[in-house]
């Protein structure tokens, strides 16, 4: 259950990373299709990361001489991570939901006062969540795996941004 929750949070994070990396890179007015593709790419990126992390987890668990202990330690670490990631996700989703209110001021305010700062602290939240998860873990395997997952999570937005930037460069070069 804990792993499933982390997986869903990773997909949500990927979706939002995909949207963010596409913003400001298309100047048409009707962008529903454009954003849908960007969100899909973000989710696909998060899926790749999650699969990779799961494979490494399975390899670690299979090759360990104390399999049950590793499993319990990993579950404990993952549960603790949720204490950081879930409130962050709830804050983000609540602010996105606020944008449904038909007021330009409220919608803009969510950008300026909440979604902007929440985007800024995303890497810190990732680091804090993973470190909090690993804080009381007893095994080296859990710590190494945690660092590996953190690295993957942090590289997702970077990779999506780079890809979107290259696409934009190509598009502008084709125009001029």
């Amino acid at each position: 259950m804990t792993l499933l929750a982390l997986y869903l949070l990773a997909l949500l994070d990927g979706l939002l990373c995909g949207l963010r990396s596409s913003m400001g890179r298309s100047a048409v007015i009707r962008k529903t299709g454009y954003y849908r593709r960007a969100a899909f790419q973000g989710v696909a990126g998060a899926q790749v990361i999650s699969t990779l992390a799961l494979m490494v987890l399975l390899v670690v668990a299979a090759s360990s001489s104390h399999r049950d202990a590793v499993r319990a330690d990993l579950e404990g670490a993952a549960s603790r991570m949720l204490w950081v990631f879930v409130p962050y996700a709830v804050l983000v989703l609540a602010n996105l939901a606020l944008r449904l209110v038909p007021s330009n001021d409220i919608r803009s305010a969510t950008s300026v006062f909440m979604l902007g700062p929440l985007t800024a602290i995303r890497p810190l939240v990732m680091i804090a969540g993973v470190f909090y998860g690993m804080f009381s873990s007893r095994l080296l395997e859990t710590r190494v795996l945690g660092m590996f997952v953190l690295l993957l999570m942090l590289s997702l937005e970077f990779a999506l941004n780079r890809r979107a930037d290259r696409r934009q460069e190509r598009e502008i070069r084709a125009l001029l």
Binding site: G24, R25, S26, V28, N104, S111, G116
Partner: protein, 313 residues
Amino acid sequence: MTVFASWNPTQPEITDLIVQHDAWTLERVKVRKLDVLDTFSRYSNGQAMRAVKQLPEREGFLDEKEIDRHLLKVHWEMQRLAEEFYHGHRVWELLRVVIASIRHAGVRQTIRIVDVGCGIGYVTRWLAANVPLRDYSIELVGMDLNGTLINEANRLAGAEQLPCRFVQGDAFSKEHSGHIFTSTGVIHHFRGQGLPQFLGRHEQPETQAFLHFDFQPWLLAPVGAWFFHFLRMRTAVARHDGVLSAARAHGARTLSETARNALPEFASGIYGAKIWNTPAPRVFHTLIGLRRPLVEEFRRQLGRRRSRLGELR
């Protein structure tokens, strides 16, 4: 120190300098990179100098093609801010009231709305995409001196089959003059005597109103703009100019008093300065001007939004 030097409102923005046109022929003029750097060096503006140094050059002159590509990138980014601030909705919210007031005064012909310094024409294209222009009998024209931005605006409008057009040229010339002039983030570019001269040009026979949206200056505006541009903008030029724009913005009193002096036939004032009648300022405020016979109906048409209107005289 560098950060604050880049907030000095007396200096120009990078985009004011890296693209220049002959005032009469509108032909592109070559820009020497060293001249741009010298300008910012006089203001000890290290941030601007670093941004300009990154721009490609050829034999000492800024590479026009590369600059144009960069400019498009910057304007695409700027559109994102307009989208986040629901700027199209905000413009239409006020524009529809102005249009209703003009109709009430008996104007029956198509109302031409001219977007001055439209860039890639976000506001005009947004209106074209979201407003039933035929029902309102309005025509949308975006104007800018920069040919690259106008070409891009036309391309984007064409790609979505939007009923609007964009023209490179002087928005206040006789052949392009409009019933309503509007602009976004443009008016702070007119400084000193340039501001009354710009506003004075609205005095045209058919012109009924103008709406100029721009940053609202207040103590924390440059700090807020810095933070927001740091998070949202990707190019050094956009990060620099966005914040400097907020620092250069004219205050409500300067705008309304200058408009009143330059355009005595219009009632001028500020709309939308505060959020919900609280002391909290909106990011943008609007300099609004109306032919005097329109004022009473305009106030009536505003309805519950009337409280957003400052002194209109």
